[in-house]
């Protein structure tokens, strides 16, 4: 059984102008040790998909219409808030884009990490290495030791001293390491990393990607890496899912999807990258704009921008089906596997 399973998830967001169908049948499953890149344009629902895994989408305005989100066999949509609180920051860790706004500038890094460790320790005392009923002082000392060891693990030099520094005393890349260390405290099975390197310089980005890659390999972590950068995905992801207007349109092994994309949208995304072999003036943009999700086009949502679409594509939304190169593609006109 997969660690994470999102099955045909439909979600609407209520706004003044009506309900927007923002997730229209998202399916995704992650095994331990896999890094899944989740890519797509702004507003396609990739961050929302990540947030549904920790159920951090406020409802209302969100309404789950149908589908399921399962984590380690447990139905997250039916779980009560207390269960979710025990999962978040424990078995499900999250890392966000901007490491500056995700740390409280008024508290030492250590204080913020110890809070997380104490919370994780309340749910599972073994995380702090203590028996149940240990004294408050013992728990605090263990929490601090754990925080220092995590900082050390993510490559912060002189962690035992740096833990008493404030966030502003760290560089952007170092702050992102602190947040990764924080996400690791609860010994998570899954890390949701939403644009973790977008705010960083390329050389720092390479270091953070190396760190995430190492963690997935060493701890058997599953990582959902949400990004719009196909280069980042190509570097560390084992698998990739491409989203368009609230649905996964292509998913599978990273080499299959990036080297022989079968969905016209994935093909267009790759064609829009200024790679070394693209001559000036030859870069192909994708004409048209992302559809308004308040009034999405009928059938395949990509049809209005699709170079190979035909009238019958508007009849129904295509589901994911395997193609010859192994990945699954949601397109009526993609060549199917025999």
């Amino acid at each position: 059984m997969a660690l994470v399973e999102i099955d045909e998830l439909h979600l609407t967001m209520t706004s003044y102008d009506g309900a927007a169908h923002v997730l229209a049948g998202v399916s995704l499953s992650l095994e331990r040790g896999e890094i899944w890149g989740l890519v797509g344009e702004t507003g396609c629902g990739k961050s929302l998909t990540g947030l549904t895994l920790s159920r951090l989408v406020a409802s209302p305005p969100a309404r789950y219409l149908s589908g399921a989100v399962r984590f380690d066999g447990r139905d997250l949509l039916a779980a009560d808030e207390e269960t979710m609180r025990d999962l978040r920051g424990r078995r499900i860790g999250m890392i966000f884009q901007d490491p500056t706004t995700n740390l409280n500038p008024a508290f030492r890094v250590g204080t913020q990490m110890i809070d997380v460790a104490l919370h994780a320790g309340r749910v599972d005392p073994s995380i702090l290495g203590l028996a149940a009923g240990a004294s408050r002082g013992a728990r605090r000392r263990a929490a601090r030791d754990l925080a220092v060891s995590m900082l050390d693990r993510v490559g912060i030099v002189d962690a035992a001293r740096r833990i008493d520094d404030y966030p502003h005393q760290f560089s952007g890349g170092m702050r992102q390491r602190v947040l990764i260390a924080m996400a690791l405290i609860g010994r998570p099975d899954l890390i949701i990393a939403d644009e973790p390197t977008t705010a960083l310089d390329v050389s720092v980005q390479a270091q953070i990607l190396a760190l995430l890659h190492r963690l997935a390999a060493e701890d058997g972590l599953a990582i959902l890496l949400i990004t719009h950068n196909l280069g980042v995905v190509a570097q560390i992801a084992s698998h990739v899912a491409v989203m368009y207007a609230g649905a996964v349109v292509e998913a599978g092994d990273v080499r299959a999807v990036l080297k022989s994309p079968r969905h016209p949208y994935t093909q267009a995304l790759i064609a829009a990258l200024p790679r070394a072999d693209v001559k000036r003036g030859a870069l192909a943009g994708l004409p048209g704009v992302v559809p308004d999700l308040l009034t999405p086009p009928p059938g395949c949502r990509f049809l209005p921008r699709c170079p190979i679409g035909a009238a019958d594509c508007a009849r129904a939304a295509p589901g994911l089906a395997p193609v010859d190169t192994g990945q699954r593609v949601a397109c009526f006109r993609a060549e199917r596997a025999a």
Binding site: A210, I236, K259, P274, L283, A284, G285
Partner: protein, 274 residues
């Protein structure tokens, strides 16, 4: 080709410390010389804090160098005052990174694009009616239309907003356009459209670009010459094709190596695993 913008041994030093203390000096630009040929696209790449922003501020004339000389079209910028200075500013315009933050949400598209023409009405000589006609013409040039005239920024997508910013920059008929990370906030498909627009405009309006970015893929695609800036110094400058094919300095090599290649077979991690 003649140089449109030239920096000779430009150094810019800021005084560190707070409002009540005198801290150490910060050398934001250290003996920088470069020459941007008319009609070319000159790329400047560097990491955050390398001095890219100081360089743009000096090129725009918003900041004077501590030492060194800046000449635009052969004229020393430092000696210009009053009307002459204002005329110079009209000839250099900028498009910023974030089209969400660089448009006033309370101004209509018409007012945003026309504002520069009002400020420079002495040299452009356009009355209100002519300005509106020119706004419509500019919107057409960047792929928008007269129907967008009375709309407000929030009604546009990121790519459309960047087009409005471009129209605003072009309104005062500049010769040099500084593009400061103009596509970093955009999706790749939109980025491709905006880059195509830059190329088309450059040919049509005889523009010269200074393209500032940390996205080396984009720089390689659009620039003729590239300067790599590191800690306020230019560590390497060359034709784009040469610089990317055979970087000479350690820092340029490092930057190029860290570029995430969209080919999974070229990933340094995958190679280690296989």
């Amino acid at each position: 080709m003649s140089a449109l913008l030239q920096l000779e041994n430009v150094t810019r030093v800021y005084r560190g410390g707070g409002p009540f203390s005198q801290g150490a000096e910060i050398v934001a630009l250290d003996d920088v010389s470069l020459s941007v040929a008319r009609g070319s696209c000159f790329g400047v790449v560097g990491e955050s804090g390398s001095g890219k922003t100081t360089l743009t501020r000096i090129a725009l004339g918003l900041e004077a160098p501590t030492r060194g000389r800046v000449t635009f079209d052969g004229v020393d910028v430092a000696g210009l005052r009053g009307a002459a200075r204002k005329r110079l500013r009209r000839r250099v315009q900028i498009v910023f990174q974030d089209p969400y933050a660089s448009l006033d949400p309370r101004m209509s598209v018409h007012d945003i694009v026309a504002e520069g023409m009002v400020i420079h009405r002495d040299s452009l000589g356009l009355d209100a009616r002519a300005r509106t006609a020119r706004v419509v013409e500019l919107l057409g040039l960047v792929g928008l239309g007269a129907q967008h005239l009375n709309r407000y920024p929030h009604e546009f997508s990121g790519g459309q907003r960047q087009r409005i910013c471009i129209a605003r920059a072009l309104a005062v008929e500049p010769e040099l356009l500084i593009l400061d990370e103009p596509t970093s906030a955009l999706d790749v498909s939109v980025q491709a459209q905006v880059l195509a627009l830059f190329e088309e405009l450059k040919a049509r309006l005889d523009l010269t670009y200074v393209f500032i970015s940390h996205d080396l893929g984009v720089v390689r695609y659009v620039c003729d010459r590239v300067a790599v800036i590191h800690r306020g110094r230019i560590v390497e400058e060359n034709e784009a094709t040469r610089l990317f094919a055979a970087p000479q300095s350690a820092h340029a090599r490092e930057l190029i190596a860290a570029m995430p290649d969209p080919d999974p077979d070229r990933s340094p991690f995958r190679r280690a695993v296989l």
